[in-house]
């Protein structure tokens, strides 16, 4: 069991980050995969536009979960992080490039004229969406099949992530991403009142979900032959309960999609992915890498305490903000047509001459005194005073000059 030890806590948060990333970025990559399979003509264009529009406002925030996972692991378990990153360098470079390609497509798509340009950008989106989830899941497969030893690039750069277990994990990641995305895009379309898109993606969800189910069974056979250790632990308590939950939730999602309960299907699809991540973690625990357990890899206790405090404090800011973003997206606030101009902004009243001169003089005085403190001072305090006065001179100067509309 994942015992409640201090050395487990950051890992526990990191795994939640992995699960959230697999769900949110998975849906994003899946949407990219569907743009590849959208087909030609007007209908294909509308499918691509829906897939793009639905993900655009949340794209960047979805991918920051990966950064969260990386920083928590490198702070909390530096030795494990260094071993993984150096051996899996090729896979992680490929994944990084895939993520950037996906992001660039978002940045560029809004400014394109259409036609050939849009098709080129959608092709880039699709390549990124195929490479990134495959490479990340293949890297995870390399860790699970014990192909990442401890040390600076101690494992094989290629077979560490191009092996039966990794390839199986990569394919499964692509299929489950497509499945997740289809469920989410169908639900989004129905909220937006677009019956045609809702139906198109509902059918795609049913197909992708069925294929993913078959692939998971085939994958189990591959893992049994290739990585017996993790296979046995996945089918042993406690991991087996999490794996079973994942299977049940995945099947339930198919049923819910078939019966058009799309919003409930969103939740059960997420549970299926999260439970799979949980099952993997329980099966590996407490072994991070061959010969390196979680307590051996963990940073000193005071670092872990500070890390956990930072994560909790960060969460207090993060979750309400994320909630706001998703609520605005789900309520369709960002898909409404832009409201027409709200009228010209009221002209800024010119600041009176009497108010302006003292601000300028004061700015000059702050600059002179601050300069003296900073240049002559020999220790921290005079320097701090100098910096504060110089900062004040900038703010005062700005308030004096930015308010007036300078003439020529």
């Amino acid at each position: 069991m994942l015992g409640l030890h201090l050395y487990n806590l950051p890992l526990f948060f990191a795994l939640q980050g992995v699960a959230l990333y697999a769900i949110l970025a998975g849906a994003d990559f899946g949407a990219g995969i569907w743009t590849l399979l959208a087909g030609r003509g007007e209908r294909g264009r509308r499918i691509r536009d829906h897939a793009h529009r639905s993900m655009a406002p949340v794209w960047e925030a979805n991918h920051v979960w990966l950064i969260f996972v990386l920083v928590v692991i490198w702070t909390g378990y530096p030795a494990a992080f260094a071993s993984m990153a150096s051996t899996l360098a090729v896979a992680l470079t490929a994944a990084g490039l895939g993520i950037v390609l996906r992001g660039v497509a978002y940045a560029l798509r809004s400014g394109t004229g259409g036609g050939v340009e849009i098709r080129a950008i959608d092709a880039a989106t699709a390549v990124g969406s195929l490479v990134a989830p495959f490479a990340l899941a293949a890297a995870a497969g390399g860790i699970a099949s014990r192909r990442v030893p401890v040390g600076n690039a101690a494992g094989d750069l290629w077979t560490s992530w191009l092996n039966p277990t990794s390839i199986m994990a990569g394919v499964l990641a692509l299929l489950s991403s497509a499945y997740l995305a289809a469920v989410y895009l169908a639900a989004d379309a129905r909220r937006a009142g677009d019956r045609e898109m809702a139906e198109i993606f509902r059918v795609r969800a049913l197909v992708a979900g069925s294929v993913a189910g078959v692939a998971a069974v085939a994958g189990a056979v591959v893992v049994r032959a290739d990585a017996r250790w993790i296979f046995d632990r996945l089918l042993d308590a406690p991991a087996v309960f999490s794996v079973a939950l994942s299977v049940l939730a995945g099947a339930a999602t198919l049923l819910l999609v078939a019966r058009r309960h799309l919003d409930t299907a969103r939740v059960s699809a997420a549970v299926a992915v999260a439970a799979l991540v949980g099952g993997w973690a329980l099966a590996q625990n407490p072994v991070l890498l061959p010969g390196l357990t979680v307590p051996q890899a963990a940073a000193p206790d005071n670092v872990l305490v500070l890390l956990v405090i930072s994560i909790l404090a960060g969460g207090v800011i993060l979750f309400p903000s994320l909630g706001l973003l998703f609520e605005l997206v789900l309520r369709g606030r960002f898909s409404a047509a832009p409201s027409a101009g709200r009228g010209a902004p009221a002209a800024t009243p010119a600041i009176g001459l009497t108010a302006r001169i003292p601000a300028k003089r004061l700015a000059g005085a702050c600059f002179a005194v601050g300069a003296a403190f900073l240049a002559i001072g020999e220790s921290a305090w005079p320097h701090a005073i100098g910096v504060a006065l110089l900062g004040a001179s900038i703010v005062l100067g700005l308030s004096a000059l930015a308010g007036e509309d300078a003439r020529e």
């Binding site: 655009a56 406002p57 960047e60 925030a61 991918h63 990966l66 950064i67 990386l70 920083v71 490198w74 702070t75 530096p78 030795a79 992080f81 260094a82 990153a85 150096s86 051996t87 360098a89 090729v90 992680l92 470079t93 990084g96 490039l97 993520i99 950037v100 992001g103 940045a107 560029l108 400014g111 394109t112 040390g151 600076n152 750069l157 940073a299 005071n302 670092v303 960060g314 903000s321 973003l325 605005l328 960002f334 027409a340 101009g341 009228g343 010209a344 600059f367 601050g370 900073l374 240049a375 100098g386 910096v387 110089l390 100067g397 700005l398 000059l401 930015a402 509309d405 300078a406 020529e408």
Partner: protein, 376 residues
Amino acid sequence: VTGTILSFEMGLLWPGFMGTFGAVFGLGFALEGFSFFTEAIFIGIYVYGWNRLSPRAHFLSGIPIVIAGLTGSLFVLSVNSWMNDPRGFTLHDGRVAGVEPLTALFRNGHLGFEIVHMYLAGFIVTGFLVAAAYAVGRLRGRWGRYERIALTIPLTVAALAAPVQVLVGDWAAREVARTQPTKLAALEGLGHTERGAPLHVLGWYRDGEVKFGIAVPKGLSLLAFHDPTAEVQGLDAVPPGDRPPVNVVRIAFQLMVGIGTFLAALSVWYLFARTRRRRVPSGRWFYRLLVLAGPASVVALIAGWVTTEVGRQPWVVYHVMRTTQAVTGAAGIPVGYATLAAFYACLVAAIAWILRRLARAPMATAAEPERALTPG
């Protein structure tokens, strides 16, 4: 798209550094991660909420972006300043012990001037870049109220910050002289330790001295210690293996100082016109120089980072870990690096192309009411 790849590269390129010191400085990046996250969320709200949220809500959604930008750069610089002035740990047989992350990140001697220097640089670069774009427009005859405001606001910010940066740069150099004398010696090409050391402008460092440079007697002692007779440590104080590549550091430093001085002079010109004549300068030469100031400020920013990072070599953690100990053992790093460089070159080209296209499109609705006020 840069933040994600950056956090990947930390592990891909520097596993030795991350594995040994991750526990000491990693917290800085964890905190930066939250700043970045908050920024990403509110940028989503700000950009996609344009004209869709109420003006007040839209304005308020921009404030967290500002705060997260400030805290994010603070946390990143806390790591860099620790690399320059490492503390908050002890090293036994290549493993860290007695780790105090807060001391390491926030109580080192370099954070103060690095953060002030960098914040100002951020305002200066952004200000001159935006103003330069509208200066091009003015030289081509586009000069309505919209363009005038779009030029004066960023230029005012940059012009107020640039003279302050000269003072802060002097402070930073004095701190470097005190804590990293070898870096200072490389900045100035000072081969031998001496009292009343001269300052050389331009020139090339070879065989322990600057050739073809303009010498200012006692200038270096005066600038670095504010005392014309002060002793300045030369490169010969450390063995050749512990010295940075002098010409790279020195040229980068001179470039930064030269451009910084030019920007400060241009700023004084602008501020003088604004405060004494209550006008923006009207001569074409001012705007020609302003067009130059935009890209020049970016060059100065990069040159500044080259100065401090290459100047710290051969150390990745000053006097603790050499860069060769930090780098990955994986083969084919040049291939990976070339791939990344080619990829980013394509990215730059694509962004330039999209910006040109956006610039050709008619002005968005938000700007129209303002334009209507000033025909021509």
